[in-house]
């Protein structure tokens, strides 16, 4: 090994703690990049391949009922490549050995061979026989959650008739990568299943002989989906079309898209922060080494090493640190990616997991790490190259401390000499002090932007459950029924309170802006399912006009008192002009509310309802569940307590994991920045500090100078960090917002306080580590060595 290479290795060993602090920060950036970007590409590609192979449709529409003869007309729409018409229906399932009923989403399989679109992928057993009317294939997660294997049976309430169905196989489908039941907030594989049944059997069970109520389309390559959707809507309108839509509004697709969006923004936001800090740290440390090595650089040049060899030597130092950091990042990133893949496996049902991160992502991550370190070192390496040998051999001129305006102002305050030393040093290196402060502020910001989630979710849960949805159960009916039927529900065992409600699909229009939503009709006196206004006060569903949720109002660019065109997709499909009566808070969905009797009046009909909210006597829950399994026209039930529990459990788990991750991140940033800053300080001022000790200052007094600057910068960084964190939190919330849900911004004092405590503790610990070095400072040695 060449002597210069030995010097490199010894320098690295001597710098191990500083190098490690930098490597950890860089590693963090690499790991997050690897995980988020790697998972983003893996998930995108897996989904694309799955969609392609299993012919996932591009346009979807539901309707009340249309004759099969309409199909050629749909196929003739310009731009349509393939059409699949199906019968869909939902029914209550009675699962043997289970108290609570489950909800089944039934889908027809064509009598003539395999489906053209949305092809289910068989996982076990076989497809149902075309001739049989009691065979079903179920989605694999449902089978696994309930322990079903082909050959098992379950019972279903099909059109008021209880039937025994035999499971012939299990399958997965690109339509149901993410499956969530109506009214649910989280996937519930045990209580919600997809059941495929042959078309003749479906037609018989759901009264759809020679007819269909669901259309999927695949488009030609350059077809414009908006045009196709418009034409399809025109065709389906007379048959109770509920509005066609593209993949963006397909539930499973939309959820995966949301996840992808999050991964992508993570990949684009966090790693650059880490890489930026790494550049700063490498720049600071290598810059200091080059300054310390001044005479050695001169010597190397004097004895004939070229400028290139000398600068490569210092670049190599940075690259070595980068290699360690990148390696750590790759190991941790791979581990995190695996963890995330496991998490996805519980939410998403993919038949094959291309969840391994692609090899080229590793290459990109490595290149990123090396480039970052090189960028940080390049300035110092070049200055080493530029240093003329003759100058390098003579000691550097003392740094140019000047008496500035600020200086004179400060002096008025009569600070101690040591305070002056601290302040002068900050002013001497303003950029470095500024970046150190910014680094610490970023650590605070990262914490604020992750810790606030806890309060935010509490607010979300409080708003979505305790303040608004105070019912125990939602009973969802297959169709609207006359209010008389409310009595049947009231008579069910254990029912304490009943409130009817209506749900109408509708298109809201304001000028050229339009939105397809559900309008909820509720009694003005509703006390279980309540509506809160923006101040958190309970408001009644209005007899005149419509209450819109905030996001819906802003999407339609409409305010209180403005007229809105409402095109109902239910009943007679009437169009009415209704005024906006008010704007209310809602984090889940894009609801719009109206009093139920007002809706009935508008449609000129007697009083009806399509779902009911109930409270139950907990002692009679079992009897209640047994009774509703036989209730006709029941499409589904939502147990609010179960929903809340599932929601809290999932969220809690995720929040805890991510909180740990973010605290680690913030601590790493803080340690990386403060430890290196303090070490550089110590190195630059060892002589000054040793002189003071020789003059008779105590260790504590001397360490004040060292600690003072870091402490000053760390404290100054707190309010900046809070501001940055609040900004980051706001941006994150905006990123999360979708039609499915939004998240309130709740920034409590505790969040800021905890963030600051964590960062300040980490800063104090790393500064104290350096202080220990100061205590061990050998006064004679420091004064003897020539700087």
């Amino acid at each position: 090994m060449r002597a210069l290479e030995k010097k490199l290795i010894r320098d690295l060993l001597r710098l191990w703690s500083q190098g490690l602090a930098i490597a950890l920060v860089l590693g963090c950036g690499v790991a997050i990049f690897l995980m988020s970007y790697g998972m983003f590409t893996a998930l995108t590609e897996t989904r694309a391949a799955y969609y392609e192979r299993n012919r996932f449709a591009e346009v979807f529409a539901s309707l009340r009922r249309a004759p099969q003869s309409l199909m050629p007309e749909i196929a003739a729409i310009e731009g349509v490549y393939a059409v699949e018409t199906r019968v869909k229906g939902s029914a209550i399932l009675d699962l043997p050995g289970q108290v609570e009923s489950a909800v089944g989403q039934f889908i027809s399989l064509p009598a003539s061979g395999e489906p053209r679109l949305n092809l289910p992928l068989l996982r076990s057993g076989r497809f149902p026989d075309v001739q049989s009317d009691d065979e079903v294939m179920v989605n694999e997660p449902f089978a696994i959650a309930n322990g079903y294997v082909p050959g098992d049976t379950l019972m279903a309430n099909l059109n008021g008739q209880k039937r025994v169905l035999t499971i012939t196989g299990t399958a997965l489908s690109p339509e149901f990568i993410y499956t969530i039941g109506p009214g649910d907030m989280m996937p519930d594989n045990q209580g919600y299943g997809i059941l495929w049944m042959s078309e003749p059997a479906m037609a018989a069970a759901f009264d759809m002989d020679g007819a269909f109520n669901d259309v999927s389309l695949q488009l030609r390559r350059h077809a414009r989906s908006d045009d196709v959707i418009d034409r399809l809507d025109d065709l389906l309108d007379p048959f109770g079309g509920l509005g066609a839509h593209d993949r963006v509004q397909q539930q499973s697709h939309a959820f995966i898209d949301g996840e992808l969006k999050q991964l992508q923004s993570m990949a684009y936001v966090l790693p650059p922060v880490f890489l930026g800090i790494t550049i700063f740290l490498v720049n600071m440390v290598i810059g200091r080494i080059v300054a310390l090595d001044r005479s050695e650089i001169g010597l190397l040049k004097a004895i004939g090493y070229s400028n290139l060899e000398v600068s490569l030597h210092y670049l190599a130092l940075a690259v070595a640190i980068a290699l360690i950091g990148t390696l750590l990042g790759i190991l941790v990133g791979t581990w995190m990616a695996r963890g995330l893949a496991e998490l996805y496996a519980t939410f998403f049902s993919f038949p094959y997991l291309i969840f391994a991160v692609r090899p080229d992502i590793y290459i990109i991550a490595t290149a990123l790490g090396l480039t970052t370190a090189s960028l940080g070192a390049i300035q110092s390496a070049l200055s080493a190259a530029r240093l003329p040998p003759a100058v390098a051999m003579s000691p550097p001129a003392p740094p140019n401390y000047q008496s500035s305006m600020i200086d004179r102002l400060l002096l008025r305050a009569r600070p101690s000499q040591r305070t002056m030393m601290v302040l002068r040093n900050i002013m001497r290196w303003p950029l470095r002090a500024g970046l150190t402060m910014l680094g610490i502020a970023l650590a605070v910001a990262v914490l604020v932007a992750s810790l606030f989630f806890e309060d935010t979710l509490e607010e979300l849960i409080d708003s979505a459950f305790y303040s608004t949805n105070r019912q125990d159960v939602m009973l969802i009916l297959t169709q609207e029924v006359n209010s008389d039927a409310l009595e049947d529900i009231r008579r069910l065992p254990g029912v304490l309170q009943v409130e009817p409600a209506q749900m109408h699909g509708a298109i809201l229009r304001n000028g050229h802006l339009e939105k397809r939503v559900g309008i909820e009709g509720r009694p003005a006196t509703a006390d279980l399912a309540r509506i809160l206004d923006q101040d958190g006060k309970v408001v009644a569903a209005p007899a005149n006009g419509l209450l819109l949720s905030t996001r819906l109002a802003s999407q339609l660019a409409i305010g209180v008192g403005d007229p809105l065109t409402v095109e109902f997709l239910t009943g007679q499909r009437e169009t009415h002009v209704v005024n906006v009566a008010g704007i209310v808070t809602s984090y889940i969905g894009l609801p719009a509310y109206m009093e139920d009797t007002a809706l009935d009046r508008l449609m000129r009909r007697s009083s009806t309802f399509s779902y009911a909210n109930l409270t139950l006597d907990p002692a009679k829950e079992q009897e209640f569940h047994a009774a509703i399994k036989d209730l006709p026209r029941l499409a589904g039930t939502v147990m609010i307590a179960d929903t809340l529990e599932a929601f809290e459990e999932t969220i809690e788990q995720n929040i805890n994991i991510s909180m740990v991750v973010y605290i680690v991140i913030a601590v790493l940033i803080t340690v990386g920045v403060t430890y290196n800053s303090a070490r550089i300080q110590l190195s630059e001022r060892a002589r000054d500090l040793a002189s003071l000790r020789i003059l008779g200052f105590t260790k504590t007094e001397v360490s004040f100078i060292l600690i003072g600057e870091i402490a000053f910068l760390a404290l100054l960084a707190q309010p900046i960090g809070w501001l940055l964190g609040a900004g980051l939190a706001t941006a994150m919330i905006a990123g999360f917002e979708s039609d499915l849900y939004s998240i309130p911004l709740v920034l409590s004092r505790d969040t800021f306080a905890l963030s600051s405590v964590v960062v300040l503790a980490a800063a104090a610990a790393s500064t104290l580590l350096v202080r220990r070095r100061l205590d061990r400072l050998n006064l004679i040695e420091v004064m003897k060595t020539r700087e």
């Binding site: 010597l299 004895i303 004939g304």
Partner: protein, 240 residues
């Protein structure tokens, strides 16, 4: 200048001037120096502080550029060389010894010498070079474990390991006491005698001039006198 001497010239300068311009101040460090150093010669450069000795040595060694005038190393005109060629020149032909040793702290004595042998075309082994300065037995020691005189001898070993044609020493004994300084001078003298290395030594200890073939005195950036020693003393006979 007679013919044989001209042929023997290792360094030759012609009206070399060096001017430092730092802000307002203009310092004339060298003011028209004409000088020739001959092959195998040991020269001592004397002169008050700030008279331009180091400046001249740095220019001869290719560490610095002259502001005006010309400098030759044998047939090679140094004043015409660019940075890269000067590096090459130093690597191939020149050995330096400085007042503050300038050892690399993180490398042992042998490794400090190896810094040079790694890149020189025809070096001796680091061990051999250290033997010449009498430090073969200390070669695995780090600079911090060596005395000032020992460190300086390592620096000399490092300078001669490449078998340079010239050895330029700027106050090699400046940081040493007289007794330790003598050991260093003995090493330089032996190298000059045994290897025939042309050697130039800057010093403030006027007594050292007695070991030189020639003594050159500087004042205000000019050469004020050149004298030949008819008889030379050995370093051990010198004390200051």
């Amino acid at each position: 200048m007679d013919q044989t001497l001209a042929e023997n010239a290792v360094f030759r300068t012609q009206a070399v001037t060096k001017v430092y311009e730092t802000g307002e101040v203009r310092v004339v460090a060298l003011d028209g120096v004409d000088l020739t150093l001959h092959a195998g010669e040991l020269t001592v450069l004397l002169g008050p502080s700030g008279s331009g000795k180091s400046t001249l040595l740095n220019i001869l060694g290719g560490l610095d550029h002259a502001s005006e005038g010309r400098v030759w190393f044998k047939d090679l005109e140094l004043t015409k060389l660019n940075e890269r060629a000067l590096t090459r020149f130093r690597r191939d032909h020149v050995g330096f010894v400085f007042q503050f040793y300038n050892l690399v702290a993180s490398l042992s004595a042998r490794e400090n010498v190896a810094l040079v042998t790694d890149i020189a075309p025809n070096p001796m082994s680091p061990e051999e070079a250290l033997d010449i300065v009498g430090l073969g037995h200390r070669m695995n020691h780090f600079p911090a474990e060596l005395s000032g005189g020992e460190q300086q001898r390592v620096a000399i070993a490092r300078a001669i390991a490449k078998r340079p044609e010239v050895l330029l020493c700027d106050e090699p004994t400046g940081a040493l006491d007289s007794k330790t300084g003598v050991q260093v001078l003995e090493a330089l003298d032996r190298i000059n005698k045994d290897l025939g290395t042309t050697t130039a030594i800057i010093t403030h200890a006027a007594e050292i001039r007695k070991m030189a073939h020639r003594v050159i005195r500087f004042q205000d950036g000019r050469i004020v006198s050149i004298e030949h020693n008819e008889t030379r003393l050995t370093p051990s006979e010198i004390e200051w």
